[in-house]
Amino acid sequence: MSILGCADLSVRIADKAILTSVTLSIEAGKVTTIVGPNGAGKSTLLTCLAGLRQPTSGMATLDGLALASMAPRKRARRLAFLPQTPEIAWSVEGRTLIELGRTPFVGARGPTAEDRAAVDRAMAAARVAPFERRIVDTLSGGERARVLIARALAGEPEWLLADEPLTGLDPAHQLDAAALFRQLAESGVGVVLTLHDLSMALRLSDRIIVLADGGVLGDDPPAAALTPDVLRRAYGVEATLTQGPGGPLIDVIGRA
């Protein structure tokens, strides 16, 4: 089983400590969610785990190999990353955008039948077939987010790291995306997310890592992760965990 991790990982940006000595070991085949207040270092940690940021000290590893020393193309074949505010620079068609996900596989001869088949599968999984020939500028924010998820799936990666993938999706499409992440995890993909919606994190995840002030405050299965005590220390709020009809529900009462 594939393991994504980091050892004693620290990141300082302009003398400010963003992450301090974070050590994690994340298994594939599960949905692992990183939560924490704004500025806790969630995105920084995720970009380090994606091999896109060189930590100040320590390292991120994939199956024991330092991500920083992996050939970028090789890394990109195994690990897909979905940034928080994805940029789409040109008015391309949906399919053209999704095809970019095949970049690490396409050789000098251009896309093969296998590449096209992978794009078709990704489009089916993310249910974006209607947007195949639509110019991405004309899609709504939620539709675009789904096309970008399809882009990440087109590489059929072992690992999918997504920064706030549910932001901007309406409830129905949030559920669809959550189901898709679950399904990916069950098929063996390692899914690592950052989320702000704590109730969603509880319902969706196999494991929740609470990040606060650049360090790991909690790392547990959902049932034990977001206790009132943890929420008070991480977010500075009073909250209760209740069971709603749709699953666990975090009710924030007020500031602690």
């Binding site: 890394r75 990109a76 897909a80 789409i88 620079a89 040109w90 391309v92 955008l97 970049t103 690490p104």
Partner: protein, 328 residues
């Protein structure tokens, strides 16, 4: 607009190139009809075709291709439809390099100094752009960096002009600065062609990376694209292609801006798919412009660089107005 199929686009552009090349050989103050080609040794007008118009036509194609491709690559890299070697100050930095060699009169005994200086100037320009585009590059950063380079180089050129040792040097510099294909010979073709070919070769390797950059810098890196390799190819490629072009024709602006912009909708906006069409399109634009300035009735031929700027400025304005709506 729906992208049209690729072979059709290539066929249309190539056909336009062939037709314009033929016209370019025939047209001018002296019209040379086709039958001259049948009797090359007898008809004196053959010399006009072979000694003047043929190198001029080849240079128009070479320079147009270099500028069109440089524009397409710079726009793809900066994700900015307003980018081109002229707007970003690369051409004017090349011009500054060239002017310095003219000013010091080095070119008289070392003709290779001019292209070397032009390419070095262009390289400095690209390097400054790259430095500024390090981590957080926005459209505004690039345009401002270009403005700074343009101001810097025009100050340098003005200084050279004001300090010029004699009026002839001033004349030479001014004449050259305005950008023209008139009275060029095979010597210029031999000078520019190999450099432009190498530069374009480097630029064509960036296609896949430019496509990936559609998803931004982080997106491209997450797809395994090496940004440093891309930057090197781009910097050297633009410096060689645009620098060598400026070295033989002076500054001809807006080709690199207009060409990719017009072709973009036809290739479905994918930056990598825009590269080869921009080579052909740039050649078409410069050839057409050069034929027009030759046919413009005036005592002295209108300089191509001046004509292009006159046509390009309104185009830039329209582009800016349209973009403003998008940004705001």
């Amino acid at each position: 607009m729906r992208p049209i199929n690729r072979p059709l686009l290539y066929a249309v552009l190539t056909a336009a190139l062939v037709v314009l090349s033929s016209i370019s050989l025939i047209a001018g103050k002296v019209w040379v009809p086709w039958d001259v080609w049948l009797t090359p040794d007898v008809d004196p007008r053959w010399a006009i075709v072979f000694e003047l118009r043929l190198p001029r036509t080849i240079l128009a194609i070479v320079v147009g291709a270099a500028l069109g491709l440089s524009g397409a690559v710079l726009q793809g890299y900066t994700r900015n439809p307003l980018a081109d070697p002229g707007v970003l100050g690369v051409s004017s930095m090349a011009a500054l390099g060239a002017v310095l060699t003219l000013y010091y009169g080095v070119t008289a005994f070392a003709p290779w100094a001019l292209p070397v200086a032009a390419i070095s100037g262009a390289l400095v320009g690209v390097a400054v752009l790259m430095l500024l585009s390090g981590s957080a590059s926005s459209l505004v950063t690039f345009i401002l960096a270009g403005a700074i380079l343009n101001i810097l180089s025009s100050a340098g050129v003005s200084l050279a002009l004001s300090m010029a040792p004699n009026p002839w040097a001033v004349n030479e510099i001014v004449d050259w600065l305005m950008g023209s294909l008139a009275d060029r010979s095979f010597e210029e073709v031999r000078m520019a062609l190999p450099l432009v070919v190498i530069g374009c070769g480097l630029l064509l390797t960036t296609g896949r990376a430019l496509d990936a950059l559609t998803l931004g810098d982080v997106g491209a890196r997450s797809l395994g694209v090496s940004m440093s390799a891309t930057r090197w190819s781009l910097a050297l490629g633009v410096a060689l292609a645009a620098g060598a072009s400026v070295a033989v024709t002076g500054v001809i602006g807006f080709v690199g801006l207009v060409t990719p912009h017009l072709l973009r909708p036809l290739v479905g906006a994918r930056p990598g798919a825009l590269l080869v069409p921009s080579i052909l399109g740039g050649a078409v634009v410069v050839l057409a412009g050069d034929i027009l300035v030759r046919l413009t009735p005036a005592a002295n031929e209108v300089k191509l660089g001046v004509a292009m700027a006159a046509l390009g400025a309104p185009f830039f304005l329209v582009l800016l107005l349209r973009l403003r709506r998008k940004i705001a």
